[in-house]
């Protein structure tokens, strides 16, 4: 290899990577915008959206309650033993409430939805892609993005804020279970301090996050499935498997990154 090539090849590789990244981001953004616009296109897909609300929302309630309860319980335990060192165990209610409402509720609910519904959406759409079902929609003059993605996006936008609310409430009662019932903090203190500390801005912030995360989860998981055929490292069933893995990993990472970005804007 010539000396010039030694110098330029890493630069070229970096350039290729950046171009690839830009192309992917652009395609992802267009995919999201197209899906969002088609939600409002006539005729509205009420039935399909309701189906997705049931699949993404209703079917996730159990797992959300379970993770919410244990998250609240562990927050209660950890919070109590930390606060008791400073004689501030009375502040456990606000600590649990604010942590859940501002951060953990939206983030963990979104990650749980990614794991449960997002992976299924990526796999389903991926299989439709490799078995030419998406091409079949195209040939029937049916817009695949409208038919497949828009109802899922709408379903996630409706479901995730509600699931986050359930997560928060169950988590708060989980904290109450360990903090008050097990470790002896007065329930009155736990709840009254929480009511004093939590303001509407916190709830709105959590709501905004959950809406953004819904968009992130639905878009990334559906996108990964939709473009399974473009994956260079695997075709067919292997490609769908890789798409599903990528969907869960990317969506989870993007949830954490967007969480940081939103939080930094809000504070």
């Amino acid at each position: 290899m010539s000396q010039i090539a030694i110098v330029t090849s890493p630069v070229a590789a970096l350039g290729r990577f950046v171009l690839f990244l830009l192309q992917e981001m652009g395609r992802l953004a267009l995919f999201f915008l197209e899906g969002l616009v088609y939600i409002f296109y006539f005729p509205f897909q009420f039935f399909k959206i309701a189906e997705q609300v049931y699949f993404i929302g209703m079917k996730s309630v159990f797992v959300i309650c379970l993770t919410g309860a244990f998250t609240g319980m562990v927050l209660g335990l950890q919070g109590y033993y930390t606060l008791v060192k400073f004689g501030s165990e009375g502040m456990l209610g606000p600590a649990v409430g604010l942590t859940l409402i501002r951060e953990l509720g939206p983030v963990l609910a979104a990650i749980m939805v990614t794991a449960r519904a997002g992976s299924a959406m990526a796999a389903e759409i991926g299989i439709m892609r490799i078995s030419e079902q998406i091409d079949a929609l195209n040939t029937m003059n049916i817009n695949p993005v409208r038919f497949l993605f828009s109802p899922r996006l709408a379903g996630a936008l409706i479901s995730l804020p509600l699931l986050t609310a359930i997560f928060d409430v169950v988590g708060i009662f989980g904290g109450y279970l360990t903090g008050s019932l097990m470790l002896g903090i007065s329930p009155g203190i736990y709840f009254s301090h929480m009511v004093e500390a939590v303001v509407m801005t916190d709830i709105n912030g959590g709501f905004v996050k959950s809406v953004v995360f819904a968009g992130v989860v639905a878009t990334i998981t559906c996108y990964q499935g939709y473009y399974t055929h473009l994956r260079a490292e695997g075709f067919g069933a292997k490609g769908v498997g890789l798409a599903t893995t990528s969907a869960v990993v990317f969506a989870s990472v993007m949830i954490l990154i967007t969480d940081y970005v939103i939080t930094s804007f809000m504070l």
Partner: protein, 402 residues
Amino acid sequence: MSEPLIRFDDIHKRFGTNEVLNGVNLSVYEGEITTVIGKSGGGKSVLLKHIVGLMQQDEGRVLIEGKPLREMTRAERRAMKRRFSYMFQGNALFDSMTVYDNVALPLKEKTDMPKKEIPGQVEKKMDQLDLHDIHNKYPSQLSGGMQKRVALARALVTDPEIVLFDEPTTGLDPVRKNAVHSMISDYQQQFGFTGVIVSHEIPDVFYISQRIGMLDEGRIIFEGKPEDIQNSRDPLVQRFVQGFESRHDQLTGMAPQSQGEQRYREEIARMDRYQNVFSLILLTMDRIDGERKRDHEAHQTALKEFSQRIRNHLRLTDICSRYGMNKLMIILPNANQQQAEEVCAKLAANLQTTEGADALFGSEGCFRVTAGIAEAAKDSPIEQVLSAAEEARNPFYEFRVC
């Protein structure tokens, strides 16, 4: 000849460094079935996908009614797509939907048909394709042949003007394969659509196609009628056809059409040399029980069974070959017209009495086999003798199996 409905004009398509289509020129005419034949992985499906815009060519033009596809506006393209239907190689049925929903989907999503009328239209199409009592089943619960029929019902439910078939018989056994071909031919005649088939089923597709395009090394090396391709003197075309054609027709176990024609030419040569006579019998099998007329699988099973029994009753020197979707040709060397008639009468009698009509076909349904006999004259082309046999179809040899 009239203006082609679809024309590929110097189409090039590359995937990386692999040039799959290397200047394809092909015309598809209205109301005809045009079949593109070629090796597996030779770019046939890629070519088909260019028609509906599932793939874009790197160079060249796809013209629909003379207008380049790329120059169409979005609205024009949408309107054009409404005229098409596509039957995929793997059927592409929506596996999470029932059969009814699969067939109804194009009507629900892309037509203005009132909701009340959709079940009637779906029912009608499913009935025409002999799909009964499977409305609430899922595609995975159906046999391969049944799935093909559902895919065909979905492709035809909007009454399209142009239907594209991507390897419609892949993975099917000979009976089902022939049933699908017969189905396509039957419905093309019934509904009058223009069909484009991509296939490597030679010679089966010759029986149902009006035009053949032969794709090799990314180019169309032959375009014309099926009989022209079989009679082509071009060594490349001959090699290609012979490479695909098996010694025996998979369904009937008889020689394929081209070999039947070859034997005919040999008999003509013998006639010249030794002054022999020979005759030809053309057997045509039709289904005549109205209601179940479209049970193509039963028809092909019956043809298979019938062919086997015919072979058992003929002399060793007689030459049988398949000569169309439901036609068999028998060459009787050293037999004049009268002797051939006697052989035929004996054959019919044997089939009726010794085998028993019901046992013969082993399936429900009524079939009629007509026999036409003609004696070959010196230097007479096969088409002439066959046409004489066709005209002389004698009801005396007609027998029904119900």
